[in-house]
Structure formats: C-alpha cells, structure tokens
C-alpha cells in the first residue's frame, strides 16, 4: 500500500551507513515511521522540524514501510541563534512524540505545529503561536480548555480562574471560598494571540503545564516533558 502526505520530521535515527529510521508527523496520517534510504551529501538528508512531502510505501499497513521525501521547508533558522526558539521547537516535537499515538491523525495540531515552525523565525510571534499550540494539543488529548464562560455561574464577566479539574473558566463569584484551589486565568490565556513577552508566556504555561502533567500521569514514562521543562526554565531565567 502507498500514501502521500506532508509532514514534519520528529526523529531521524541512523540505520546502517546510508539509511535512517525516520518518524514523521503527517497532516493526514499522524505519526508514522519508515525507512529512509536517501543519504545526503553532508550526512543527514533532513533534520528535525523540517517540513517535507512524504511518500510512504509498504506491503501492509502495520509494517515499517519506506519513506521517499522531498524537502518543503527547512527547520526554523532562529534555532541556531535564539536558544529560546530552539527550546520551543524541541518542546513542541517532544510533546507530539509523547502525547500523540502512531497513525492517529491530528490535523488541527499539525496546522498548529506548522504555524509554530513558520512563526519561529519571527521574534514577535512565536510566544503566542506556541501557547496556541499547547492549547490545541490539550484539546486533542481530551483536556480542552473552555475559557470564555464561567463553569459555575454561566457568566461571561469577571473571569479570574481556571478550574484545575475541568480546565474551564471560573468567575470571581463562582470561585468564592475556593480561590486557593483555583489556577489563575492569566492574560495570555485570555488572549493567546497577544502574548508579547516571556513573563506572559510563563504564567500561561504554568496553567497548561498543570493539565499536560495530569495527562502525562496516565502514561508510563512522561520523559517527554523534560524538553518542555527546559523551555520554562529558560524563560524563567530571562524573565527574572
């Protein structure tokens, strides 16, 4: 069988001299692995976070299969000059590798990752796009956050908190007496399109991090959160 798709390279492990086992996050096919036979002139033919067109072929659906790839867009160059962008790209790849199962299509999340890699080279944009990526990921793994309306009173005003259990917004009056148990509804979460600085992003990531850890708790080895922890440490270092 054979299919074609576009995807982002999540892993590329050498297999022998001129072959690689590649793992790609495809728009239509989710995470898929395959043997990549082409060897570049300078070692690896592609690198992580490259956007490629994929042709996958195997005798059966459940076999490893072989990839043929064509480059579409290079990984963000800002990774080589801005360590926060590097950490952000690593975190996003690591979260997808950890939370998305093989062969599960996550079209919205793919578009979020694509937007993130495109925005990574723009200093003013990447924080917003990264936060929106985490919100998309949470929605895809069953922790969608509903931050427009109070879960207790139904009010659209005075929203100050997020319920740590449901991920829904809670107003000041709705949280009365339980404020200490609530997560803050930060300015970044209220308006993810306008996260301009590290401090805003850190505050929002503390809330999304609560739900990511909750989701990771169900998994055997949540090692994939390490890259995200590196990102938050780096943001804290510069924000303090």
């Amino acid at each position: 069988m054979q299919w074609e798709d576009e995807g982002v390279i999540l892993a590329l492990d050498r297999f022998g001299e001129r072959q690689f086992i590649a793992s790609c996050f495809g728009r239509e096919h989710g995470i898929r692995r395959g043997l990549l036979r082409q060897a570049g002139r300078h070692g690896r033919p592609y690198q992580l976070a490259d956007l490629v067109t994929i042709s996958w072929r195997a005798r059966h659906e459940d076999r490893l299969g072989t990839f043929t790839m064509e480059p579409k867009r290079h990984a963000p160059l800002a990774m080589f000059s801005d360590r926060k962008v590097l950490a952000m790209v690593q975190s996003s790849i690591s979260l997808i590798r950890g939370f998305c199962g093989e062969s599960e299509a996550h079209r919205g999340l793919f578009d979020g990752l694509d937007a993130l890699l495109l925005a990574a080279d723009q200093q003013s944009l990447w924080r917003s796009v990264y936060l929106r990526f985490e919100l998309l990921l949470l929605a895809d793994i069953g922790y969608a956050m509903d931050l427009n309306k109070c879960a207790v009173t139904g009010s659209y005003d005075d929203l100050l908190y997020v319920s740590p259990r449901t991920g829904r917004a809670v107003s000041a009056s709705g949280a009365f007496g339980y404020e200490h148990r609530m997560l803050p509804l930060t300015p970044g979460l209220k308006d993810p399109k306008n996260v301009d600085d590290d401090a805003m992003l850190i505050d929002a990531l503390q809330v999304t991090g609560h739900f990511l850890e909750k989701a990771a708790g169900d998994l055997v080895a949540p090692k994939f959160l390490h890259a995200r922890n590196d990102l938050t440490k780096l943001l804290h270092g510069d924000a303090s």
Binding site: A11, G16, E17, H42, G43, R44, Q47, L48, A49, P71, R73, H74, A75, L77, M79, F80, R83, L86, A87, V89, Q90, S91, I93, S94, R97, K223, H226, A227, D230
Partner: protein, 201 residues
C-alpha cells in the same frame, strides 16, 4: 525442497560479525570472508596481526578522548601545537577530519556525543567534566566544531553557559556554501545562513 547452503559454524560467525561493520551487509561480508580465506598470507594474517596490535595498543586519550597508541595522544603531547586554542568536536571521526584538513593547530576535546532534550541525553553522558578542567586551566579560545543540528546547537548553548565568567572567547565554525557548491542545489536554510553571514570582498 532443497536445503539452503549454510557455511560452517566459525565461518558463519565471522560473516555475521563482518556484516555488522559500517558499510557492509551479509553479501559483502561473505565476499570479504571468502577473499580473506583464499588469500591467507597476503590478507588474513597481516589483518590479524594489525587487529591484534590495535587491540593491544590503541586506547582513548585521557585528555582529549582521541584514539591513539600513545597515552596521552600524539596531538596532546605535541608542544608545537597552540595549547590555548581548544576545538570541541562530537566524535573522533570529526577530530580526524579536522586533522586531515590541516586547518587547526591547537588541541581538541572529543565530547563522545551530543546533548539531546528529545532523547534524554544530558551533560553527564558527555566528556564535559574534562572541558571544565581545561577551562579552569586557562584555555584562551574555544572553537565549537559541532554539527548544525538541534543537538549540536543544544550542546553549544550548554557549553556557552559552562564558560560563564571564564575569560574565554567562544567561536563556532562558519555555516554556508560548501566549496564547489552551486546555489541552485543548496537548500533554503543553508542559503539563508550563508546570506546572513556574507563578507566584504
């Protein structure tokens, strides 16, 4: 159905070991084994002698991680080399590539890998303690000859942090158009990097 031909036990073992070497598969390993056995005196015995000698004498240099018959290695003990320039590479193969080029006349440190947040490879798994010692010993320039990959850049950032307050100049190799490279065949990323680091003529 006729049984497939199987070579004898020890020979089969040799072929399986050879097939695991870089660049070889079972077919080329069989050819190689047959070639050695049909030319015992010219090929097999000298090869055995050479491999025994290498196995007994070659070791990892305690200073830089290079492989050599001398400990410390011939590069580390060479007094003509500039001791204040230190080139950091990932593997011994990279050190040898640098030596082939003759571009560098200082000393080296082979890290033995790269840090990776994705694969969980941390600084403890690399030869970074040795780097700390060399920094404390007064290295003047640290040249990071690491691959232009996510892992290479993660390691470079970590080393920059290690350097901290030491009065050490940290540089990295230039990135751009390879010698003989035609623009039409270069990937967009390399072209952008090359454009960003253009030079006055």
């Amino acid at each position: 159905m006729q049984d497939q031909f199987q070579v004898a036990g020890e020979l089969d073992r040799l072929i399986k070991i050879l097939a695991k070497l870089p660049g070889l598969g079972p077919r080329s390993a069989r050819r190689m084994a047959l070639h050695m056995l049909t030319r015992r005196q010219e090929v097999l015995e000298p090869l055995l002698d050479a491999m025994n000698a290498v196995s007994e004498t070659v070791g990892e240099c305690p200073n830089c991680g290079n492989l050599d018959t001398r400990q410390p290695c011939s590069i580390c003990v060479d007094e003509r080399r500039q001791g204040h320039e230190l080139c950091v590479v990932e593997h011994v193969a990279d050190l040898w590539a640098m030596e082939r080029s003759g571009a560098f006349q200082g000393r080296y440190l082979v890290l033995g890998g790269l840090m990776s947040a994705l694969e969980g490879v941390g600084p403890d798994e690399l030869r970074l303690n040795r780097l700390q010692t060399l920094l404390d010993g007064g290295a003047g320039e640290l040249i990071l000859a690491l691959p232009a990959t996510m892992e290479g850049q993660t390691t470079a950032h970590y080393i920059q942090d290690m350097v901290g307050n030491h009065a050490v100049r940290v540089t990295s190799l230039a990135r751009g158009i390879p010698l003989g490279g035609e623009l039409d065949y270069l990937d967009d990323g390399t072209l952008k990097l090359a454009f960003g680091s253009r030079q006055n003529l």
